[in-house]
Amino acid sequence: MAENLETAVKQICRKNGNDRTRMMDIVREVQDRFGQVSSQAMNTIARAVNSHRVEVESVVSFYSFLSEEPKGKFVIRLCNDIIDKMQGVEKVAEAFREELGIDFGESTSDGKFTLEWTPCIGMCDQAPAALVNNKVVTRLSSDSAREIVKSLKQNGDEDHLMHMLGDGNNADPLVNSMVNNNIRERGPVVFADLEPGTAIHKALSMSAVEVIKDVKTARLRGRGGAGFPTGMKWEFTRAASGSDKVVICNADEGEPGTFKDRTILTEKPDLLFEGMTIAGYAIGARTGVLYLRGEYAYLRPFLERILAQRRNKNLLGMSILGKAGFDFDIRIQMGAGAYVCGEETALISSCEGLRGDPKNRPPFPAQKGYLTLPTSVNNVETFCCVARILDKGAGWFAEMGSAGSTGTKLLSISGDCTRPGVYELEFGITVSEMLEKAGAENAYAVQVGGPSGQLIGEADFHRKICYDDVATGGAVMIFNRDRNPLEIAHEFMEFFCEESCGYCTPCRVGNELLKQRLEAIIAGKGTPEDLDYLEQLGKTVAVASRCGLGQTSSNPVRTSLKNFRGEYEKLVRENSDGMQRTFDIHKALAAGEDLQGRKSVIYAD
């Protein structure tokens, strides 16, 4: 057995060229095959790729889909983001617990099942949802949870769970998924049709500089949320020294409440790859990488087929469409469950086979990115816009939307509304228009842009969705009057505490302190000074953190405090005697009384 492991692991390493920068692929494959990356496997990998054991272990310990300890044959990861909780995930959880006889974080003694919680898996429009190994199961109830366990026990594989397939390409045999697209509104940019190759063909009739100029004329800005001008990023990358350059597509949409890229990857992968190829031409890259979040692994075989089809049509590969010297290909890099990898420098680390630690900037990826090569990292939706701009023209694109935010934006809407799903809407639409479309009549609070965005109330519903007003990467979560803004903020702080990579203190410690103070306030133990404390500490975390995660992680607290201050003020009261209500002497003494064998005399009551 031990020899088998060694041989198999060595073979996996060899398949990946014994290349330490492909560590993610190696450890993922070992995990899939053996249900763990054991200590012995890590030693073997380190030797095979000429690395150090500690480097392998740093990767295995970082990503939540990898583990040194053995996992069950079926790993059930139930999504516990706020939307799933609102849709009753706790009942589903209870059914799994009962059916399997284990709690979350545990495995059954026969090694068949492991039960885990996981943050957002991109299915908020069909919550509660879970991953069973790589397969997604949606709209769960306590009944369906029991059936899932029964079916897995009977059939011994997760494919049998998909008796009802989703719409569109979800029913493709290579996707074979029960996920529904829920595309509610199709716009002219992302969800319109495009014959593969037409946009590339047009791009190739221009010079690379002209292509960049087109993207700039269209005033395209990054769709991931930050809104950096795409043309400018490409210009920097093109101008950076070095002959070899890289295009990376960030398909790691881990922001809770975001699932727009899921629909693009399912329904419009050609448009995406077309855009990536055009980017390759524009910046002079030979290498393209699609960084696909681990949760979307079920889409990988399908995406690989699309890539193969494009290679056959000479839309990828050498001398694309006969253009001598334009060689470009795309590989898929799988993630393994780490939210921080959506941050572009952390994503690059992950592609390089390292922990998903953010890197210091400068140098920016455009100067020194993937394997120190100049790299442009763009969002899935951004590439789709590029392809459309080249096909329809920059002027056509720039006419849509508002002055500072041209084109359309995909919004993934979930929560308390009757029509959750993906909407392609022109920039400049107001929040209330958007709410009406989604069927949210009683919206009290709206989280725009996911946890790292802002929680807004009715006073802001007249504002516009665009980069200059209410900016968003696409996530919109709607909450009605039954929801408490403090609880919402607390949910998101728990998420950030969990997902912080721990590298820098403001983020690692600051978020924890924010969360604790918020808990004290929710428990009715807060004072008015605590609100100032939250504001000040929130600002410190935002200013002093190293990467985008920490710089935005205090937003749930800061924006809920700003827009729902009344809710906070209802809960806090003056501390007139100066004694902290959060301090419980009896709780603090319980252990001591037990060990020292007597009760307190001073605090006898």
Partner: protein, 181 residues
């Protein structure tokens, strides 16, 4: 008008901060002109004789007596100041906070290599204050108005802070008295 009164206490500290207070040298004569000392180890007054303007607290809370004392100070002082690292963050005593209490006490009274304890029991005499589950910085137990950092805070810092507070003037804090490396 009567002089304002100040009180001091050393909770889970080493008395280093009190030593630092004595380090103000001959200014102690001026201090005595400015204030009267109430409850304090300096004059060994055990109970407050009346309301105090300022209470200086050294050390955090590691046992019930510390908590009781600190609450007593809060009730009797207008302004409470955490003096030094232990009061502000727990300091050296808080190093035990990452170790379960049972392990700490077992090592100290039962299993340590130099322990002689034929009774095999962790001391529980009622003269000994009960220990808390962890060491708490003062501001987690009662509201603290100011914090004077340092290990110990330099005499000049304590002096400047006290005088400024008593004379109701802004503090003059040159870089030298608040740098600690």
């Amino acid at each position: 008008m009567a002089k304002p009164k100040i009180a001091t206490a050393s909770l889970a500290g080493c008395f280093g901060c009190h030593m630092s207070l004595l380090d103000i040298d001959d200014r102690i004569l001026k201090l005595v002109e400015l204030v009267d000392f109430d409850k304090s180890p300096v004059d060994d007054i055990k109970k407050f004789t009346g309301r105090c303007a300022v209470g200086l607290i050294e050390g955090g809370c590691c046992n019930e007596e510390n908590v009781h004392n600190l609450q007593y100070f809060r009730e009797n002082c207008d302004i409470l100041i955490s003096v030094g690292e232990c009061a502000i963050m727990g300091g050296i005593p808080a190093m035990r906070n990452n170790i379960p209490l049972k392990e700490c006490l077992d090592e100290a009274y039962l299993n340590g290599p130099t322990v002689y304890n034929p009774s095999g029991k962790i001391p529980g005499d009622k003269e000994l204050p009960l220990i808390l589950d962890r060491v708490y910085p003062c501001h987690e137990v009662v509201k603290m108005d100011y914090h004077l950092p340092g290990c110990p805070p330099p005499a000049d810092l304590l002096w400047q802070a006290l005088v400024a507070l008593l004379e109701n003037k802004p503090m003059d804090l040159p870089y030298e008295v608040i740098k600690y490396d």
